[in-house]
Amino acid sequence: MAAELSAQPATDIACSIRNLTVAYRVERRDYPAVKDVDLDIPSGEVTAVIGESGSGKTTLAMAMLNAVQPPGRIVAGSVVYATTGDVLQMSGKRLRRLRGNAVSMVFQTSQNSLNPLKRIGSQVMDLARSHGHNPRATLCEAKDLCGRMSLDADRVLTSYQHELSGGMRQRVGIMLALVLQPDVVLLDEPTTALDVLSQSEVLQILRDLQRERRFTALLITHDMGVVAELADRVAVMYAGRIVERGRTPDVLTHPQHPYTRALIQSIPRLTGDLSQAVPLPGLPPSLTTIPVKGCVFRERCAFRMPVCDTEQPPLESVGPDHDAACYLHGLLDDRAD
């Protein structure tokens, strides 16, 4: 049965991921952490990838920089950037030039991403020199960015990382990712390590900066709220596979995959009956317990059918610019209550 994917609107695609499979070697066997991922990331938009921990999202991000750490390795696929090409085919100097420059990353624990023995400004200049940018000009740009993020630029740039708070360090991480004006920015749970107040601040900064500079962003998160606030598009990952993707309003209001639906339903609202929030029973599979045959989600699915045991359902169109990988073929609303 040939699955038909939705026709995408004709915006430029900044990054095109095809057939990406990343496996980890555990005790002499390979387990896929990311399997058969196809994803287009349109230019100038924020695309979110949401999933629980262990869903493979960080591995996906690392793969996008061709930086999967052993014991993991890229098994198949391509990650093609419109401006520079397939990063998975790059190595050496070409790869290094791409990282931090054309494609940059904001790490989950940016607080630990800074050299404890060098001042921030010095590290900015190191970054500039590594990519052939003028250090002074880059420092100016850094000052500018710091200001935008309500950081005292002079103070921050002359400080060591231990003199800054966690929230400040996270913002420095963002600044370092944006200072060379990259085409694509990968944000791996940029606010998870922060307290709630800083989280909302940083999210706002990210939204404003993205609207201003129109860089392409891939936002990795486990928080539906963050998706709702920031993302133009969202892809849902479970057990290393994309199970649903589309424009955020569509996916959030009419999810067509039981997992997406369950994620949304499990969020308690501030008002109303708490029992309306329905937690999803069971645990996500660990790397070695992902089912090899059949739909990866079937163990926890309320709508499980015999066909689900046969093969992982392919992604297929369930609406305009909206795909889901489920044998319900987009009829979830009818099945659900």
């Binding site: 029973p281 645990l283 599979p285 926890r300 699915c301 309320a302 709508f303 499980r304 209550d337």
Partner: protein
């Protein structure tokens, strides 16, 4: 309500497997030794030398025979390790010399562990004034270089006997252990089981002895073994320097004679005489280190790869 669901979601491969039965200490020990055969080797070496020290000297007369006609003889059936400058069998010298070395090192390790643990426990638990005093004392002892201090002490007290050697080395060496124990106690005393014990009204002494100490026994045991190796060097070194009078033979005395008897240093035939005590010290140390590695893995669950 949907009717398509045929069965309840099942707990299959998606759920983590049930925890295994916790293995007993002996099983763990055996497991580790199997994976690290060097641990067995270490244990064998240790037992060999302990045996040598305890029963070995019984096979030899109190006064070892000299043989002036065969000084620095090459190894032979009668003298597997050759002879020394007086013609005495080197193997006999090693065996008779082992008792002093191992005994004094064992005692030194014991006293170091004793002083270090007690002071570490007191200073870590009570804090305040006792802590300051003990820490300052430990720092003082740690700063002064040990060997010059030992040499100076030898003028005041000839600590040649195994017991006095053990005591003196314990007094010199307790500092580092005290510090380490102190930091362990500092973390332990904040743990809830200590709080619970305090809440139940147990006395401080009881808490220290019954609650905290059992948690550091493995650490102390390992430090004890390390102290023994250090003490072997120290004892041998002190006798080598010639600052202590000796009643009986020991490896350090052998080295001292080797160095000062003008013949020994200048002839290649005395190589075995020189090497024998050196090699013995190295072997004992090797045994301890190998065994310690395995012991560490046995006692420290985090090192074991499950």
């Amino acid at each position: 309500m949907n009717t398509i669901v045929s069965e309840e979601p099942q707990a299959l491969s998606t759920y983590p497997s049930a925890p295994r039965r916790r293995p007993s200490a002996w099983m763990v020990a055996w497991d580790v030794l199997r994976r690290r055969p060097t641990g067995i080797l270490g244990l064998v070496i240790l037992l060999f030398f302990i045996g040598m020290a305890t029963v070995g000297p019984l096979f030899y007369p109190a006064e070892l025979p000299t043989d002036p006609l065969h000084t620095f003889a090459a190894p032979s059936a009668a003298h597997p390790l050759g002879t020394d400058f007086e013609g005495t069998d080197v193997l006999a010298l090693i065996v008779t010399g082992s008792r002093y070395v191992l005994l004094s090192a064992f005692l030194a390790g014991f006293f170091t562990a004793l002083f270090g643990t007690v002071s570490g426990l007191i200073s870590g638990y009570y804090l305040g004034v006792p802590d300051s005093i003990i820490t300052k004392l430990a720092d003082f002892v740690l700063t002064i270089p040990s060997f010059p201090l030992l040499v100076v002490l030898s003028t005041v007290w000839k600590f040649g006997s195994p017991l006095s050697m053990g005591l003196v080395l314990g007094i010199i060496g307790w500092g580092a252990l005290a510090r380490a124990i102190r930091s362990q106690v500092l973390t332990l005393r904040e743990r809830t089981f200590v709080e619970a014990a305090r809440g139940l009204g147990f006395s401080s002494v009881h808490i220290i002895v019954k609650e905290i100490f059992p948690n550091i026994t493995s650490y102390v045991a390992m430090k004890f073994l390390l102290a023994v190796t250090g003490a072997i060097y120290a004892a041998v070194a002190l006798f080598f320097l010639g600052v202590l009078p000796f009643a009986a033979n020991n490896w350090g005395v052998m080295l001292q004679f080797a160095f000062t008897q003008a013949g020994a240093m200048y002839t290649t035939q005395s190589l075995l005489y020189l090497l024998a005590p050196l090699a013995s010290i190295l072997l004992v140390t090797l045994g301890v280190v190998l065994f310690l590695d395995a012991l560490d893995e046995m006692l420290n669950p985090r090192l074991r790869k499950g």
